[in-house]
């Protein structure tokens, strides 16, 4: 299955991209997606994001579906 990944702020700069796609096996979780991303973009590895699937923060064990938008959020600092 394929998911659309969104990256922001420090993660966007570290990976060099703000949007990318990931091909994952059926049953892959959000944590699996972050690991896969870390293998492609080394500077992300070792960091802990808040994952959001389709604009909602979810636990890392959440199973993904084809077409999901997965955003990995660094610690926020609005205001």
């Amino acid at each position: 299955m394929r998911v659309q990944v969104r990256l922001f702020a420090y993660f966007r700069e570290a990976a060099g991209v703000g949007e990318t796609d990931l091909e994952l096996v059926h049953g892959a979780t959000v944590d699996d997606a972050w690991r896969a991303l870390g293998e492609r973009h080394e500077r992300l590895a070792g960091h802990t994001p808040a994952p959001a699937v389709n604009r909602r923060v979810v636990p890392g064990g959440t199973v993904l579906s084809d077409g999901d938008e997965v955003a990995f959020l660094p610690p926020v600092s609005g205001g």
Partner: protein, 143 residues
Amino acid sequence: MIALEDGVLDPRAVEASVEGPDAGGLATFQGVVRATNEGRSVLYLEYEAYREMAIPVMQAIASEASRRWPDTRVAMVHRLGRVHVGDVSVVVAAAAPHRVEAFAACRYAIDALKSEVPIWKKEVWSDGSHWVEGNLPQPGAIT
């Protein structure tokens, strides 16, 4: 009014969106860019947002404020892009029949924005920059 704006904010417009003859109390918070942070001189801040998620999260915060303090209306506007020292980066206005609820809702809304809304600030100094790291948003935080 729940919005992300790329230019100078208008706090009176934010207030006007919630005030009314039923609201005896109007509490407004304005976040302003400080000249120094942790001993360093700030040139400016750069704000970035996950716009498609920031708006619904801000709306959820405003709704939750109205649920906790009935008859209270909350507006929240955050500026994005480059914001200079002394400029306003965020306005939160809460209108309620009485001041207790107005202050409480305003405080709740800005605190929740700072801990849950996907917006980030990059602090830029004369000799470098860094992304400020606050709270990591949690599942089910806004209830």
